[in-house]
Amino acid sequence: MSGLQLPQDKLVEVYRNMRMIRRFEERVMDEMATGDIPGNTHLYAGQEASAVGVCLHLSEDDYISSTHRGHGHSIAKGVDIDSMMAELFGKASGTCGGKGGSMHIADLRKGMLGANGIVAAGAPITCGAALSAKLLGKNHVAVAFAGDGAMNEGVMSESFNLAKIWMLPIVFVIEDNGFGEATANEHVSAGSFTRRAESYDIPAIEVDGTDVFRVYEAAGEAIARARNGGGPTMLHVHVPRYYGHYSGDPDNYRTPEEKAAMRRERDCLINFRKRVNEVSLLDAAELDAVDQAVEAEIDRAVAAARAAPFPPLSALTTDVYVKYL
């Protein structure tokens, strides 16, 4: 079904989630500047339509896995932003009690199997979740998000093959932002990603990731196939990466002009507003109200995260095992 035929409340949810991810990331970038968020983070800004368009089809019992650039997927899958923000600050109230950090946010109650610091490592793990869904006879599906750079890790190809021969209920969503860190995808990737998947007889769909409705439609087809026992699908989603590879990246290997053009012409939020406005589904006022609500939620999350305590030192040695000795 076309995304534009979504009920009003769903449309609002789509917009809200995209805005929430955008503002979450922009705010994280600001907070990084204060030095109060430890380390570095990989920001999802610009890629929102991919996570949101895909996850709109999923319930809490469906699974996703993410990457080092995981905030957007987590939010789209329903992970609570208060605990996410607290995790970034390394606080006890964080999604992982402050022990994981940006690259390891996971929330199994929401079917979020974890961001991952190892490129492509989520793919086989997600095959395993899909296997659980299949064998435990639930009608659930699993979605593995990965980047263009991840397509060159061997385990990605292995996962394609395994998913196909086991006819797993899985969708591989390859978010192609044109870069692996500072290296352009064309410089390191031969051939075509869709043909790579197709060579395993996995149907592949190329999608404009700046249009959430296109993503929603392609993902709908893929996820329906998975739910109906049709096995894996691969989506090759083209998205812009607004910031550098990570929060500290000068991003000087891209020209100011191309970065400006990217934000001008490939913004999923602007596109969304244009589309819903054209067909007058939602008016600007409604959407502005959403923006304000999002702002308030994020302010609250940051304030709470800042106020929260760090984990107790005893946490250093807990959670290594369920039971050791």
């Binding site: 022990k99 929330d107 959670d319 050791y324």
Partner: protein
């Protein structure tokens, strides 16, 4: 009590546990042998015959022959463990961990910690290890020091059929990722193994043989070597105590220290390469925690710092012998 081979003991554990718990599944290469072919099904019963009959009993959905894609299926096993199954994955030779270590070390072992304790990963990875089969450098390593080093993993190295069954049942019921190592040269060894199911808790060493003059700590296949050395020592009036840690992670420090305190003379036998090994790990434990009780240098009898050679005479020289263990023991008893 009925006598059974190490292989049969493992096979029994797999059968009984899969019957008891429908969430237990297995995956690995040639787990059955003949998948997709026209001849006999379950033709191999696994590369070493350990999984024989499971296909018949539990079907291809639960006994899954995989492609030669260790990273993918070990990762899949880890993901399945995170989401409600209790997978037993087989790495045919532990040497192949080189192609899938990330999924073991950075994923399965760390999920629970990274996720703040909000996940469990009841995963068993079975693998064969060890020298003696004339297979050259890439099919004969021990590698358990690597797994023992990694927090989040448990490492189990049975030395006899009885322990093999009880430890494997414990491994399958355990809620943490377990590396379960089977020495190829032990599969045909026979011992008393009850028909009923029983578990052996991890972190409980076994005092294989009592003695007062020297303590010999030995791991896996080396336990038999240590016992033979003890017999040789007994012949010249030296009474050797032999202890088998059974699991290197967790390690039963308490039992090891108890015995070491009493005896004060220690030899550690380990088939692995010597550097950063379980042998050095246990030696360091003694040198710190029961230093005052030590009466002599702590001797390590291990493989040399070399790959495993192919030529039979060289491979035999690579593996610690009872003679070498007895010699090391004498060197610290008579001084």
């Amino acid at each position: 009590m009925p006598k059974k081979s190490f292989r049969q003991a493992l096979n029994e554990a797999l059968h009984s546990e899969m019957a008891r718990d429908p969430s237990v599944i297995m995956m690995g290469e040639d787990l059955t042998g003949g998948a997709g072919a026209n001849g006999v099904k379950d033709a191999w019963g696994g590369p070493f015959g350990v999984t024989r009959g499971l296909l018949d009993a539990f079907g291809a959905e639960r006994i899954r022959d995989t492609p030669i894609s260790e990273a993918a299926f070990i990762g899949a096993a880890a993901g399945a463990a995170l989401t409600g199954l209790r997978p037993i994955a087989e790495i045919m030779f532990v040497d192949f961990a080189g192609v899938c270590l990330d999924q073991i070390m950075n994923q399965a072992a760390k999920f629970r910690y990274m996720f703040g304790g909000r996940a469990k990963t009841p995963l068993v990875i079975r693998a064969t290890y060890g020298a003696g089969s004339r297979s050259g450098s890439q099919h004969t390593q021990a590698l358990y020091p690597i797994f023992t080093h990694i927090p989040g993993l448990k490492v189990v190295i049975p030395s006899n059929p009885y322990d093999a069954k009880g430890l494997l049942l414990q491994a399958i019921r355990d809620d943490d990722p377990v590396i379960f190592l089977e020495h190829k040269m032990l599969y045909d060894t026979v011992g008393e193994v009850p028909d009923a199911s029983y578990t052996i808790p991890f972190g409980e060493a076994r005092v294989v043989r009592d003695g007062k003059d020297v303590l010999i700590v030995a791991i896996g296949r080396m336990v038999g070597v240590a016992e033979e050395a003890a017999r040789q020592l007994a012949a010249d009036g030296i009474s050797a105590c032999v202890v088998d840690p059974r699991t290197t992670s967790p390690l039963d420090e308490e039992t090891l220290l108890d015995v070491a305190e009493k005896i004060g003379r220690i030899v550690i036998v380990d088939e692995a390469n010597p550097r950063c090994s379980v042998a050095t790990d246990i030696s360091a434990l003694f040198a710190d925690k029961c230093f005052d009780a030590l009466k002599a240098p702590i001797k390590l009898v291990t493989a040399p710092h070399t790959p495993v050679p192919y030529a039979p005479n060289l491979e035999d020289a690579y593996v610690p012998t009872p003679e070498a263990v007895a010699k090391a023991a004498r060197s610290i008893v008579k001084r």
